[in-house]
């Protein structure tokens, strides 16, 4: 299954496009997406600081996703927030 990932905040500086597509097996969980994203970061984002992904939430338009939940086909990558 293809998962469309939308990038925000600090993740926008690692590549020109604000989104990317990950290929995962059917039935993948949110944790699986996190692992695939970490592999993508290791391969393509040399400036991604250690620990940033660990502090990053994965979310739908409605809520931060539980790590064991099935992955939706579209999700957002939310680094630590700094509004206000």
């Amino acid at each position: 299954m293809q998962i469309e990932v939308q990038l925000f905040g600090a993740f926008r500086q690692f590549q020109p496009e604000p989104r990317l597509t990950l290929e995962l097996p059917e039935g993948a969980s949110v944790t699986d997406v996190r692992r695939a994203l970490a592999a993508h970061a290791a391969a393509h984002w040399p400036r991604c600081p250690a620990g940033l992904l660990d502090a990053t939430a994965l979310a739908s338009a409605e809520a931060v996703l539980d790590e064991s939940a099935p992955a939706p086909t579209r999700l957002a990558v939310l680094p630590p927030v700094s509004g206000g």
Binding site: F8, G9, A10, A59, P79, P80, V81, S82, G83, G84
Partner: protein
């Protein structure tokens, strides 16, 4: 009355219009309210000792609005259903002195108004998917460090130590 009449949540493209403090006060005003509290966040000149030219704000709009609505619902439950609440955050490129966020609460008495306003701005800063990139006078720029949203999902357990994030620095 429709609950929507008691709260106004918005994100505003700074390129189209500035935030409006007077509109916030108007919204939370009511003949039954003797206390209004307003918090205004502006782009300041210094950040962690560095001179700032401006800030770009990025946000995930649908979830930001949903988090604003959730924060308002929590505050109404906590302090009373007749409070009126206003939350608006700007996005885009803000200059020094521009308004980044306006939060207001109207209540019969001042204590609930102050508390509601404080709770709302803390929720905006720590729970809404909003990010800022500061631009400095030396030409450099940086995304600000912030608070992790990990394990803030409604079905999530408490955060394990490995994911704990230090949000002790509430100056951000």
């Amino acid at each position: 009355m429709d609950p929507k009449h008691y709260r106004h949540c918005a994100v505003v493209d700074i390129a189209r219009q500035p935030l409006d403090t007077a509109a916030a006060i108007d919204f939370v005003s009511d003949e039954a309210h003797g206390g209004l509290a307003v918090f205004v966040g502006k782009v300041r000149r210094q950040s962690h000792g560095r001179a700032v030219l401006g800030i770009d704000y990025d946000l995930y709009q649908p979830l930001t609005l949903r988090q604003f609505e959730r924060a308002c619902a929590t505050v109404l439950e906590r302090y009373g259903p007749t409070l009126k609440l206003y939350v608006a955050h700007a996005y885009g490129s803000l200059k020094l002195g521009d308004l980044a966020v306006v939060v207001a609460a109207g209540s019969p008495h001042r204590d609930e108004a102050f508390r509601a306003c404080r709770d709302l701005i803390e929720a905006v800063k720590h729970e809404a998917p909003i990010w800022k990139r500061e631009h400095y006078v030396d030409g450099s720029s940086e995304w600000s460090e912030g608070c992790s949203l990990c394990y803030r999902g409604e079905q999530s357990p408490a955060p394990p130590a490995a994911h704990a994030h230090d949000c002790a620095d509430h100056r951000h």
